[in-house]
Amino acid sequence: MVTVVDITLLILLGVTAIAVVRVRNLFAATMLMGIYSLLSASLFVTMDAMDVAFTEAAVGAGIATILMLGTLALVGSEEKAPKHRPILPLFVTLVTGAVLVYGSLDMPAFGDPNNPVHQHVAPYYLEDSYAETGIPNIVTVVLGSYRGFDTMGEAAVVFTALVGVLLLLARGGEHGHRTVDLRPGALDATSARRKSASPEGEETDHG
């Protein structure tokens, strides 16, 4: 039964990936990417990785899709027709894919408890973490306690992403007038000016 679910999800994943590449409308491509994330999250659920599935559904399917839509509102939603022939990239992709599949043949069987990755620190976490911390969710214990320093780095990385985006987007760049003033009240004035300046309002940009 689990195999049937896995194969169905993987086929849908493949179909969605091909559709993302084929479709020329970027709005449709963004929506398909959201579906792809949701399918990945379902695959994580079948692997019992609930925490990862949760994150993938919230970040991949949710916030990432919204940020992509925000970008589309700025750059338009029609992709330009490709000028080059796809033969060489296709060849490179197929060769790389074949090498990766060949490499995967030497990997230990999926989910085998005797795999090296399950013999290192995982048994210690599984057996001793509750006695040491009294917290039942092992993922939280590993993230917060055993590897708290890593997680602090992750939080810093997330913060760095905001700093980088603000430096690039919110500070005007080369054309200061392209950035909307975010101070209270300023935005109403800006959009009112835009509405009076151009007959098509900002609503049509999102269409």
Binding site: E132, T133, N137, G148, M152, A155, L182, P184, L187
Partner: protein
């Protein structure tokens, strides 16, 4: 804007539930799937949904851009500050056992504190990113 009644009413009804669910994910991170990262995104989604439906100007009135930017920095400081508190109490950096007499209580408090830092950072960054992207207009 006015003709999308279902979207407006629906999002208005959903927003508080999204926020409560975000807090549920935050505080049950010790017992079930979830934690600060997921909870921060879910809590931010409530504001992003409000901004998408009612416009950026209205969500900026609820949550001025300074708040998420500050939250982004504050969360990292809460996380690192927990580490310094455990050091001041005689433990190692982020060694939560020093936070209480019973080591398992200390672990509990410590993880609660750093998860609070994580949700603050992730919430601030997600809303801040949304502001940065939605605040730009086509030239």
């Amino acid at each position: 804007m006015d003709d999308r009644v279902i979207v407006r009413i629906g999002s208005k009804i959903l927003t508080p539930f999204i926020m409560v669910f975000g807090l549920y994910v935050q505080f049950h991170g010790d017992y079930g799937p979830g934690g600060g990262f997921q909870a921060g995104v879910i809590f931010a989604a409530a504001f992003v949904l409000y901004g998408l439906v009612y416009g950026l100007a209205n969500v900026l009135r609820v949550l001025p851009p300074g708040v998420p930017y500050l939250c982004g920095a504050l969360g990292v400081m809460i996380f690192a500050g927990t580490g310094f508190v455990t050091m001041a109490l005689g433990g190692s950096f982020l060694g939560y056992n020093a936070l209480a007499h019973d080591p398992s209580h200390g672990q509990h408090y410590g993880i609660l504190a750093i998860e609070w830092g994580v949700i603050t950072t992730v919430f601030g960054v997600m809303v801040g990113l949304f502001y940065a992207f939605a605040g730009r207009r086509r030239s």
